[in-house]
Symmetry: C2
Subunit: 164 residues, 2 copies
C-alpha cells in the first residue's frame, strides 16, 4: 500500500485546479524523489488534463541521455547542483512541450553525502518558456524517507507558487 | 507525507537484491500508476545501482513521442491495451539500454471506464532484450487509490518473478 497524506493531496489538487485555469501543461524531472511528485499529482482524478509526463532520471547517464543535461556539467558541478537542476527542468520542458516544469535533484542518503554536499541537500528548479529557470536550494534534515517527503512538499509548494 | 507499506518495501528490496546479483538494470514506463512503481523501488537505499530511469507517460502524446508507441496502435486499440502495454515496455527498454523493463497502463478511474474497458482494467508488460514482451491483463476492484495500489503490487511481483 502507498498512502498520500491530506496535505500532499491538497497541494496536488490546487496545482491541478490552477494549471487547468491557466491551460498549462506540467512536466516533471525527478531524481532523488524517484517519481513521488509525479505520483502525488496523478493521485488526483483529473490530473490527466494538465500532467503530460514525468521523467525519473535517477542515473547520471539518464539525466544526460534523456534530458540532455551536459555530461560536462554533471562532472564539473555534480549531479546535485544548481546547474544540473536547471538543466533538468529546461530539458524536460523542451522535450515535453509543456508550459512549466519542475525538477528535483538531491542526496536522500543514507550514503552519498560529503562535507560540501551533505545528505539532505536538495535543489529544485522551475522552468517556463522564454524565462530563466528559477533555482532553490534546501538542506532537509532526517532519514531518507523524511528527506524525500520534505522534497515532495517543497516541490509541490514551489510548483503551485509558480503557476501564475 | 507519503508512506509505503512493508510489503511494497519488501518486494522492492527483493527486486534490487535480485537485479544486483544478475547485474541487471531496470527501467519503467508507467501510465495509470503515475510514477508510484519507480517511487517504490527508489524508496530503498541502493536502488541507484539497478534503477536507471522511469518514464511517467500519462498522455497518449507522451506515450508516442517519448516511448515511440505508434499513434496508430493507440487509436486502433486504445491506450489501455495489450498492444500499447508491450510497446511501452519495449520502447522504454530500447531508450534506456536497460536489461529489463516493466510497463503499466490502465484505467484507475473514477471516470474513463466503458463496458468493454471497465475502471480497474490494467495491463502490465515485461520486456527483455531479444525476447518477446510478456503481457498480463488484470481487472482490479475498488477506488482509484485501491486500483493504483493493486497495480503497484502486481507490477512489483511480476518484475521480481521475471528477474531470472
Amino acid at each position: 500500500m502507498v498512502h498520500f497524506s491530506e496535505d500532499i493531496i491538497s497541494l496536488s489538487s490546487s496545482i491541478i485546479e490552477k494549471a487547468s485555469k491557466l491551460n498549462y501543461r506540467i512536466t516533471l524531472a525527478e531524481s532523488c524523489t524517484g517519481g513521488l511528485i509525479s505520483s502525488s499529482i496523478t493521485a488526483v482524478p483529473g490530473s490527466s488534463n494538465v500532467f503530460t509526463c514525468g521523467y525519473v532520471t535517477y542515473s547520471n547517464h539518464s539525466k544526460n541521455r534523456i534530458l540532455g543535461v551536459p555530461m560536462d556539467a554533471i562532472e564539473q558541478f555534480g549531479a546535485v547542483s544548481d546547474i544540473v537542476a536547471s538543466a533538468m527542468a529546461e530539458g524536460a520542458l523542451a522535450l515535453s512541450k509543456a508550459d512549466i516544469s519542475l525538477s528535483v535533484t538531491g542526496i536522500a542518503g543514507p550514503k552519498g553525502g560529503t562535507k560540501d554536499k551533505p545528505v539532505g541537500l536538495v535543489f529544485l528548479s522551475i522552468a517556463k518558456i522564454n524565462t530563466d529557470a528559477l533555482i532553490k536550494k534546501y538542506i532537509f534534515a532526517g532519514s531518507r524517507d523524511e528527506i524525500r517527503r520534505s522534497a515532495i512538499s517543497a516541490g509541490l509548494s514551489l510548483l503551485l507558487n509558480q503557476l501564475q
